[in-house]
Symmetry: C2
Subunit: 110 residues, 2 copies
Amino acid sequence: MENTAENVRAQMRKGVLEYCILSILNKREAYASSIIEELKAVGMIVVEGTLYPLLIRQKNQGLLSYRWEESTQGPPRKYYVISDKGREQLAQMDDAWKELVETIDTLKRV
Amino acid sequence: MENTAENVRAQMRKGVLEYCILSILNKREAYASSIIEELKAVGMIVVEGTLYPLLIRQKNQGLLSYRWEESTQGPPRKYYVISDKGREQLAQMDDAWKELVETIDTLKRV
DNA sequence: TTTAATACCTTGTATCGCAAAGTACCAAAA
DNA sequence: TTTTGGTACTTTGCGATACAAGGTATTAAA
């Protein structure tokens, strides 16, 4: 049972990923590989085996829909689009996130 | 599969609990029930079935030690104390937490 | 037609938090 | 003395999440 710096980060990310996905899709449509790229760019490594099931879950919950689009460089891409319900969920998550940040801040101070 | 506001909060807390415990114990020694009280006070409900195994895990990792202390009102209490290794881990977690907060912030903006 | 790149998907595993139930100690009331 | 209620610690079974690893399919270039 190791506890590297990487493990610590992975641990902290738990449960926040869903929030990140909705946040990304709230800005623009995207397909899985591009989402992974964006997350990697901000230092949040996510692997395919994590992302695909997550997208399917959110789609099944009605938070997302998707459409196929041809690519000039490879197989067709599944572009995900956030739904009204997804935006409601995102608003809730924004609140929950703010609360969490404040909670940690309070805990450290008092 | 419901998605109430409470579920959203519970989701977000995942993985952050360990950080909270070390943060609390870095301020002062505490026993499980008092830790639950403190977390409840800042709006972070945690139940016994979650906290006790977590404390045992952290103790087994050498992040904490404990000592028994008599109570005037009930059975003896197991006071947990953070160790040097625990403080190192906490420092790593502080960094990881800051990074995560910045990451989310970046994701929302760009 | 083979190879490389891109993209999507599935399976098995470990871990985490929760719900629920159980054990034990102590003091005050019956 | 026995019972009751409060406090505290512990365990078991479950559902959900992320990861590792491997698989399938499409396209274009060699």
